[in-house]
Amino acid sequence: MVDIPDKDLLAPGHRGCAGCGASIAVKLALNALGENTVAISATGCLEVMTTPYPESSWEVPFIHVAFENSGAVASGVESALRIQGKDDVNVVAFGGDGGTVDIGLQSLSGAMERGHNMLYICYDNEAYMNTGIQRSGATPYGASTTTSPNGTASFGEDKPKKNMPMIMAAHGIPYVATASIAYPEDYVNKVKKAAETKGAAYIHLQQPCTTGWGYPSEKTIEMGRLAVETGSWILYEIVDGKFEITYRPEERKPVKEYLAPQKRFRHLDEEHIEKIQKYVDAECKELGL
């Protein structure tokens, strides 16, 4: 069971869309980390919706930085706290997929490589949702976005999703995990484990987006669950280099069940769906799901 606090550390009144997955992600993470936490956020949906000046939804110290340097700023915060002897403070940085796998990659890579005692959570909604659904490196194959639209000249995104958690694992950091907001117990356990890790920790969290993916607002969790049940998103952790799957669907559903309810995949023909199924099958085989 996930502990429910008396008061959420992400206050309501934020401007996230009805059914926003990012706010669920951050609420669960902050509640798991507790009050003794400093949060850093790259530019993105999260920052825009939680801090429209002069209001803030953050109940813990919060710094908004540019798109590309949340890793660097989190490093600085962690170092400053360490020099002051404040070793018990959690330093957590949040970035969307754009702020993590594209624009923020260099500063994040540096922070991970230097081994700062911090946690980085990428809330991945698979495109630049805040600025109008442009593709990112994390956009999956076939998805229609405003910069990879479906039409006569294009069928949508023509490249598979960048494998960011494995790029982070290649840094040799002590803790890397994937998670989903649809599996809160698994996610919260990983956040707590990451916070207890001495050194750099990275969690890549899939977070469905009602606006960008094109499904009704009540289905945010359902979409996250379908992603995992079809093997499109695999829940695992890598602790000190040791890989382990943390959730196995009893029977893997066909990927079509995950694609069909989403507007971004609605244009795909059988040939493309077959290709995505093969891609998912190969990934599952590689990771032993």
Binding site: G13, C20, S56, E218
Partner: protein, 80 residues
């Protein structure tokens, strides 16, 4: 007046912004049917369900996740 560094000194003051006005559909919980699974609390994007499963209509945007994720169908979405 903008503060130096645009610092916001009142944590959580987004509570001033009552997002309940966004709502088209309103979740109504039948506590008789509730099995205390806490899904509605965990999955609410707006922290609008408290430990006692009371829904805060000041902030609930009416997304319907709570009704969709309720295993005992205790929450019904009713048009405002």
């Amino acid at each position: 007046m903008v503060s130096i560094g645009c610092v916001i000194k009142n944590p959580g003051n987004s509570r001033n912004n009552k997002t309940g006005s966004w709502r088209t559909f309103k979740p109504i919980l039948d506590k008789e049917k509730c099995i205390d699974c806490d899904n509605c609390i965990l999955f609410c994007p707006d922290g609008s369900v408290n430990k006692q499963h009371d829904i805060d209509y000041d902030y609930c945007k009416g997304c319907g996740i709570c009704a969709n994720e309720c295993p005992s169908d205790a929450i019904e979405m009713v048009k405002e």
